[in-house]
Structure formats: structure tokens, C-alpha cells
Symmetry: C2
Subunit: 210 residues, 2 copies
Amino acid sequence: MDKKKNISMAVIKRLPKYHRYLEQLMKNDVDRISSKELSEKIGFTASQIRQDLNCFGDFGQQGHGYNVIELYNQISNILGLTKPYKTVVVGAGNIGQAISNYTRFEKVGFNLEAIFDINPKLIGIKIRDIEIKDIDYLEDYLKENPIEIGIICVPANSAQKVCDILVKNGVKGIWNFAPVDLVIPDNVKMENVHLSDSLLTLTCLLNDTE
Amino acid sequence: MDKKKNISMAVIKRLPKYHRYLEQLMKNDVDRISSKELSEKIGFTASQIRQDLNCFGDFGQQGHGYNVIELYNQISNILGLTKPYKTVVVGAGNIGQAISNYTRFEKVGFNLEAIFDINPKLIGIKIRDIEIKDIDYLEDYLKENPIEIGIICVPANSAQKVCDILVKNGVKGIWNFAPVDLVIPDNVKMENVHLSDSLLTLTCLLNDTE
């Protein structure tokens, strides 16, 4: 694990994909896999894979390939999946509701503790037994209930305000679905899911080939 | 527009962000902006911005900055936003419903024509006046109704099958939300929104700093 701190952002971005493929291999009872075989499945070059996996220890045995379970566990570890995370969803519109309903995340240790919204019509409604609370209560809630990950699903114009409340009250990870870039301090980490940007990338690619 | 074909994937990925910021500037009645000012807002370096925008024509006038509306229109053009797109959503679970309900896309020309699902409990239900159809009818529907963009929101294990039906029936753009990598022919373009990968990237970043 000593090498962990040196993992580049490019490698970090590829790790969840390795994790997904290794999980699939485990399900198919595959014990060992060479970088070449993994390369054919995952679409990165074998040399890229060897380089990536080298970042966090010596796994592959020359000529024997990687031990799938060992590699999966190591990547799970680096991805921080060996412990649970408490999360809140702020904004219970379309995306907020979809994320709140998505039980897949729960299975890998993401526990949704609370949902907040500003809309009086939504406050009090339950999603998977979790009652949507008034956003005015967000700050008090966070003071009493330490939360690791805040999931921002509010409109662009209120996202920074929500982000500031989350950060001020100890949230260290922001998963941002609002179509805006948020400002956070260095000790907080953020991942953006900018749906519109993704859709426009697709139309750009479509347009480029015409 | 002659330079368009040479735009790299890295630039394409940045274009939606330029588009978002320029839209905001227009809303704020800003006529002109220098690469330096844009850099401060958008977070890319001024030299990066000049290089990016140079890819598709001469816009900045030395010392006068960019004409905001002109640049916005040009980027809209490159992003393919000057025409409407017919879309279908396949899979009306949490994410499929959220995307179907998201009217923001409609405003910029993405017209949701139909929604499909396999679940008898969902078939017949309406989302924004669009009735959810039986997925068995997808292929026939596509033969009669040309669709540009297919939005895949089905579980991982049925995503490739859905993708194949879409591609076989003329869909040229795939927006994939299924947590799996799909195989498509070269003449089809795909953008993935892998939510789990994004969340695991966040926990990896969180874990990396501890």
C-alpha cells in the first residue's frame, strides 16, 4: 500500500472499471487472468494494465497472470470500499429521487441517512422509508449526524449554497449532479456528474461524423 | 468550420463546459471576454482556452477578447445543437424515469419520442404524456420511427441486447447509463454515464487523503 499515494488521477479514473471487470470474473469463477486476457476484455492495452496495476504493488507473477480475488480486494481497498459511508441526498427532484431509490449503492456500503428538499409538496414523503426533510434543517441535521458524502441534486443556482453548508458541517466528499462547477476547499473531494455535458459530448461526436 | 474534423476528444470533452459558461455570460449581458477572464471563470489556463478555441476558427481578436454570442453560436454549432434530436429511453426504472422527466433536455432540442420497459407494471403508465411501451415493441417502433439517440437505462445484463436492437434499427447515438461497457460499430457514437464508477472515483479520492 506504500505506493498508493502516488496514484495519478488518470489511474484513479480507470480503477472503478477494473473493479467492475474483476467482480465479473469472480462471479464467473475465474481465478487468474493475464494482462493480455484482461486487456481483451477491458479494452486498455496489456502494457497500460501492467503499468496501472504496478502503481499499487506487485501482483502479476510473470507468466502466471493476476490472482483475480487478490487484485479485486486490493482495488476495493484503494477505492475505499472496505468501510461504509454515510450519505445524504440534497434535492429530491428527478435525479435526487432516482439516486435515493438506487439500492445498488447500498449493497456496497453507501448508506443513505437523509434526504432534503425545499419543496413543501415533497417534504414528509418517504423514499425507501426515508422521509424527505425540509432543507432548512440540513445544517442542524449535519451538526448532529456526521455525514461523509453529500449528494447534490438541487438546481444550479442553489448548488453552491448547499455545497457550502455541507462542507462547513464536515462533509468531505461531494457528489455533484447540479449542472454547475462548485468551489470547494482543498481538503474536500468532489466528483461531478454533469448529465447535460455528457449529452452534448454525444451530439458533438454525432455531428463530427456527418 | 473546416478545422472541425480535427478536434480532439479532449477538446470535445471540454466544449460543453465552454458552452455552459458562455450561456451564463450571455445571460449576464457580457458582450466580450478575454481568454484571461474566461480562464478565471472556467478554470482552464488562458493558453489552453486560446488553443482550444483556435481549433475551430479565428475568434479572439488580439487585445479585444472573444465575442461571446459569436463564440456561443459557433460552439453550439459544433456541439450539434442547431437541430433537434429524436430520442427514446429504454428502461423506465429510477434513472430512466428521471431522464424522461428531465425537461431541461427538451428545451435544447432533445425530443423524447417514446419510453420502453419490460415490466408489465410500468407498461401503459405515462411520463409527461408519453406512455411507457412494451420493450418487445422496440424494434417495430424503430423501424417506423427513425430515432437519432437511444438512452439505455436497463440493467447491465440486458444492455447489450437493447443496444444491438437500437443500432440495428438506425440509432446513431447511444447514451448509456447501464453499468457495463457496450460494443458498438464504428459508425455509432456512445457516451457513458457510469454512476457507480463516478461514486467509486469519489471514495478513492476520499481514501487517498486519509
